[in-house]
């Protein structure tokens, strides 16, 4: 609050010390971001229109940016934001040429509002609106943004915008696309929701499990987008990891009986715990086995391990819980040499039943190789190769190359690395392979 007072005391039009202005602006932005989801969700429910809701909340935030430095942050910023957004929404609906019924409903709502004690400060609000954690409105919004009728990539972008409140420019940067392209994608997504009648409600019991998987997948994709090593976009990417973890936490609060939600949160924490050790000072990738474990975040690991145990106790295992359990195996090992590879191999075998994807199968092969022998691991990969499954997936070629290298077959290893490169990879992985191939050539 100190920075706030400094800005306020200066009066309008004065020039303020830069540091306090920036700090105050950051604090203000952080507060607005904290309540963005609740505001968009509430207005979406009341208008039945996500586009209008987002525009309204955006306008309300713009109003906050001018008013709050002058008047101070209100005692209940969430209530202020929702109330102001609602008034903006009514204005927007009046300006749009909309169906008469929607206008009539809004006018009725407004009339009811005006009949109550006047003024924004005096307007009474339900307690959960004023401060509360994630509720039904917020859940409904994220389910809508993650609806399977939307393109998967678009679900991620839309969630980042409508739920997390990231600016279009930030989302564009995170996905390395031009801002106008991302803006168009978001416009089209919201238009599809409206035109196709995608419901803005929490799914019924029978659909909940499937639809929840879609939501968890989006949260996971937000995280992985942030977790990938990146050059200039690294700062934005780190924010994505935080956004994802935050979303997982909020989902867990409102869906405590869903072990996969807890499993996902555990997985994100355990993975994020390694962030500092994952890249070397030159930006190159450091393999898990080579990471300096002292750089791992012990707090996140402790919480992640506790959450995995809690999730598995519910007796309904699933892919996120299994992935979290695998991550926990790594994080409990004091050193790479002391890793319980037998347990990890068993967990991957389970995971492969849910997700027989190339990454999972490659990791299973590596785990088997570590637990039993490189030949055993190679056998798994060679079987996949004979099924034609390696063809499009660089991860399997990399795994094969690593095992061949370990078996003292450098030429075969180099050939496998070539195949991996041919399949296309992000920069950090390409650099890693280049270094490995150089090592092989050096003998």
């Amino acid at each position: 609050m100190g920075a706030e007072r400094a800005v306020h005391a200066g009066g309008s039009g004065g020039s303020f010390p830069r540091a306090s202005t920036v700090a105050a602006a950051d604090q203000l932005a952080a507060v607005l971001r904290d309540h963005w989801w609740a505001a968009v969700a509430s207005i979406t429910r009341r208008t039945g229109d996500l586009e209008i809701a987002e525009d309204a909340v955006q306008e309300a935030c713009a109003a906050a940016v001018t008013q709050w430095p002058r008047d101070g942050i209100p005692p209940s910023p969430r209530a202020w934001l929702i109330t102001t957004s609602w008034h903006k929404a009514v204005d927007l609906m009046r300006r749009d040429a909309l169906r008469a019924t929607r206008e009539a409903e809004a006018a009725q709502e407004l009339a009811r509002g005006l009949a109550e004690p006047a003024g924004l400060a005096g307007r009474p609000l339900e307690p959960e609106q004023a401060t509360g954690p994630v509720g039904d409105d917020e859940l409904a919004l994220i389910f809508a943004c993650c609806h399977p009728a939307l393109d998967p990539a678009v679900r991620v972008a839309l969630t980042l915008r409508s739920v997390c409140g990231l600016a279009t420019a930030e989302i564009a940067a995170a996905f390395v696309v031009p801002e106008p392209t991302m803006a168009q994608r978001l416009v089209r997504a919201k238009r599809k929701i409206r035109q196709a009648g995608i419901p803005l409600t929490v799914p019924g019991r029978d659909a909940l499990a499937d639809r929840l998987n879609a939501v968890l997948r989006v949260v996971y994709l937000v995280f992985t987008q942030g977790h990938r090593a990146a050059g200039d976009a690294r700062l934005i990417r780190a924010d994505l990891c935080d956004q994802a973890t935050r979303l997982a936490r909020q989902l867990r609060l409102v869906l405590p009986g869903e072990p996969e939600v807890t499993g996902l949160l555990a997985l994100l924490l355990l993975t994020d715990a390694r962030r500092a050790a994952r890249t070397a000072s030159d930006g190159s990738l450091v393999l898990l086995a080579d990471q300096d474990r002292a750089l791992w975040n012990a707090e996140q690991i402790a919480e992640g391990e506790q959450l995995v145990a809690a999730a598995l106790r519910m007796g309904r295992p699933g892919p996120y819980q299994l992935q979290a359990a695998i991550a926990a195996c790594h994080s409990t090992a004091v050193s790479a040499e002391l890793t319980d590879w037998r347990e990890i191999a068993a967990l991957y075998r389970e995971l492969a039943r849910y997700e027989p994807t190339p990454v999972v199968l490659a990791n299973q092969a590596v785990a088997v190789a570590m637990a039993d022998s490189a030949e055993a691991g190679l056998a798994i990969l060679d079987r996949l190769a004979s099924e034609g499954r390696l063809d499009r997936w660089p991860q399997l070629h990399i795994a094969r190359a690593e095992l061949l290298r370990r078996l003292g077959r450098p030429d075969d290893a180099a050939a496998a690395y070539e195949l991996a490169l041919a399949a296309g990879l992000p920069v950090a992985e390409r650099d890693f392979i280049a270094r490995r191939m150089a090592d092989l050539a050096a003998g």
């Binding site: 399977p148 009728a149 419901p199």
Partner: protein, 119 residues
Amino acid sequence: MKYLFLLYGPDGPLPEPGTAEAVAMYERWSAATGPMAQAGVLIDCAPVQPASASTTLQVRDGEVLLTDGPAAEIKEHFGGFTLVECADLDEALKWAVTLPTATDGSIEIRPVISASPPG
């Protein structure tokens, strides 16, 4: 016997409700469909949302696959129609899944624009 008229026309949005253009369009169509209704031959008539509003559904190996947009499989042929009245897309999907075409082919679920007279 029944006939389905598939109406192909230029791309672009419908005129904004309340505009002169919208009124003119409505009058042009009413001039044609009015007599059809009076003659007792018209069952239904409506514009549909653009293809971008479609969702395509397939059931393969017991799994429901949804894709955003119209059916991409060119080798499949338009062979029939089902017109439903549902509360939202989820309800429509719930019923579409039960049709044989879901497993044998693809079902494009195109939203119909509910006609309300301008004015």
